[in-house]
């Protein structure tokens, strides 16, 4: 085998070309790694809306609260399951809520868009301690007052502190408070009294979901098997954190798909860069190739040597790109989340798997870019090569 040091030192000798080519590969790997990190970040950020000690119960087969309905008696049964934590007053630490979507005029741009409206009970803020009223006050129970998520505040007609909007024709609600929840998807909702929602939408006898706080984290499996095992209930039980992660998968996959498409597109350029560099290397070292062949090195070992050189070159670029992408961990990114129709702030989340995939991607670029030049080197006629 041609010594690896031969390839590595040749890369070092033409440092400028090597660096320029590596930077091309590095740029692609940077995009590749950043996109995967963003996808991962989206999953994590959306997952943040859920807590691990809360279980969400939905109608069997429903993947969103909007498409789920549970009869009130069943909801009462679920809330009183033995695995549910009890509050100081002995009542179960649980909420049953209805979620509907209404259409409102957007401000600033033409057109209308969807807003999620959650019918909540008066213990909602106690159940979700991370939600804080940051302006105004909490609504009075049973009234036509509502609480507005901070991230859609001012983005729709009537959705502003002190203003009012029609939740249904001739059913006007007033915004008396603004709530925040660390950027979670609750900030994209309007919370109104559940009974008001029920009356307005004719949903007196059902709710969309039941959330229960588990007596202990380990109680989840027992709760799930007992509720899902009850055919008459016909419900799905999920950890809230897992459920939100699943919901985020669509958005996350979309971002990843677009990003990977861009990365693959640019990788063609980087591969051509590697190919040109390696072609030049082969051309300028013809005589050396001829000499190695004369000494008895096989065509395969010449092929391997130049492929190795190309892969090493690309891995250098991959390492640069992956390292640079780690700096994206400091960046916050805001995009529209398609699950909740509102802007959500995401972070780039690096994982060892993403870094490994980035290096593998770089290596693959080197392999494909180096393939033709290496094959040309290997196929060269010995005497022609020796003549340089």
């Amino acid at each position: 085998m041609v010594p690896l040091s031969y390839s590595v030192r040749n890369l070092r000798v033409r440092a400028t070309t090597t660096l320029a080519t590596a930077l091309g590969v590095g740029l692609v790997v940077f995009v590749f790694a950043s996109v995967l990190m963003l996808g991962e970040g989206i999953t994590r950020t959306l997952g943040r809306a859920g807590s691990a000690d809360v279980a969400v119960v939905l109608r069997d087969g429903a993947d969103a609260e909007m498409s789920s309905s549970i009869e009130l008696p069943a909801a009462g049964l679920i809330m009183n399951a033995p695995q549910v934590r009890r509050r100081a007053d002995g009542r179960p630490d649980a909420v049953a809520e209805s979620v509907v979507v209404i259409i409102l005029d957007k401000l600033g741009t033409e057109g209308v868009s969807n807003v999620a409206v959650r019918g909540v009970t008066d213990d909602v803020l106690a159940f979700r301690p991370s939600v804080r009223v940051i302006a105004g006050r909490a609504p009075r129970p049973g009234s036509d007052e509502c609480l507005l998520g901070a991230s859609i505040r001012g983005r729709f007609r009537g959705l502003e502190l002190g203003q009012s909007f029609e939740v249904k024709k001739n059913r006007r609600l007033t915004v008396v408070g603004i709530m925040a929840d660390g950027g979670s998807s609750f900030e994209s909702e309007v919370w109104i009294d559940r009974n008001v929602l029920a009356a307005a939408f004719g949903r007196e006898s059902v709710v969309s979901s039941v959330r229960v706080r588990l007596a202990s984290s380990g109680a989840f499996e027992a709760l799930r098997s007992s509720l899902e095992g009850d055919r008459q209930l016909a419900v799905d039980v999920k950890r809230e954190s897992v459920w939100y992660e699943e919901q985020s998968q669509g958005t996350s996959m979309f971002i990843k798909a677009i990003g990977l498409l861009v990365a693959v597109f640019f990788s063609v350029g980087a591969m051509i860069g590697a190919m040109i560099t390696m072609h030049a290397a082969v051309a300028s070292r013809q005589r050396e190739i001829g000499t190695l062949r004369a000494l008895g090195f096989s065509k395969k070992s010449i092929l391997a040597s130049f492929l190795f050189e190309s892969v090493a070159l690309s891995l250098l670029g991959g390492a640069l790109g992956a390292t640079a992408s780690l700096a994206m961990g400091l960046v916050r990114f805001s995009i529209v989340n398609f699950a909740s129709w509102s802007e959500i702030v995401f972070e780039f989340a690096p994982t060892p798997g993403i870094l490994a995939a980035s290096l593998a991607f770089a290596g693959a670029m080197g392999l494909f870019g180096g393939m033709f030049p290496a094959a040309r080197a290997a196929r060269m006629n010995v005497l022609d090569a020796l003549r340089g």
Binding site: P3, S5, R287, G296, S298
Partner: protein, 233 residues
């Protein structure tokens, strides 16, 4: 690796060419450089091949060295029929039997003297320590034990050629081929190289075939053959 060679038998001439024809195709033109050449080199000989440019000296040397195959006829080296071998077998043959000395040295610029000399040994099963030891011995034979870690560009032309000779002998080849080994050197360096070749022939019993333009170089060989238009005289 494919190994199609066998060891030379006693009484065999080391090199035997039988009615060798070599024709080059250049576009639509055919150029027959060697036309039915018969030629033998006995083991242990140091032969100089002289003749005008274009007379076919390098062509003949390349056939003996297994770098090319004859168009017709047989090239037998150490009992191997080179014309019947494929590229892989020829490579293995060269690795085992040949030592190359080129006019322009052909060292790898990024490798040190010792690493250049070690190259042919990478095709053997020798462990690294043994390879390094042998490379050092070869460099000592050519008088460059104090230039082991120098890169080619840190050496003079004569020193470079001595490193190349160390590389040519390190795998103890059956035959050394040299195409104008002193062509790029001044008289003094050339003489040192020729001294070395003579020593390799007499002291180490190496068979040497050397193509040269230089009558003074040819004088140092034991046999001088003259070539004209593809015919040995």
């Amino acid at each position: 690796m494919t190994t199609a060679y066998r060891e030379p038998e006693k009484g065999d001439p080391l090199v035997r060419l039988q009615r060798v024809v070599k024709t080059f195709h250049r576009g639509s033109e055919d150029l027959t450089v060697l036309d039915g050449l018969d030629f033998e080199i006995p083991t242990g000989s140091f032969e100089a091949l002289m003749g005008p440019s274009g007379s076919g000296k390098s062509t003949l040397l390349n056939l003996i060295a297994g770098l090319d195959r004859p168009t017709a006829g047989k090239v037998l080296v150490a009992g191997n029929d080179l014309g019947a071998m494929n590229d892989g077998q020829l490579a293995a043959f060269r690795a085992r039997h040949l030592g190359f000395i080129f006019q322009s040295y052909n060292l790898m610029p990024v490798l040190t003297a010792a690493e250049n000399v070690e190259l042919p040994l990478l095709l053997t099963r020798l462990p690294s320590a043994e390879r390094k030891k042998r490379a050092l011995i070869a460099l000592r034979v050519v008088g460059l034990e104090d230039r082991v870690n120098h890169y080619p560009k840190q050496l003079s032309g004569g020193q470079e050629q001595r490193v190349a000779i160390a590389r040519a002998i390190v795998n103890d080849p059956t035959i050394l081929v040299a195409d104008e080994p002193t062509g790029d050197l001044d008289r003094k360096s050339a003489d040192a190289i020729l001294d070395l070749l003579v020593r390799l022939n007499t002291e180490f019993k190496k068979t040497i075939v050397m193509v040269t333009h230089d009558p003074a170089a040819a004088e140092r060989a034991s046999v001088i053959r003259r070539m004209n238009k593809g015919v040995l005289q």
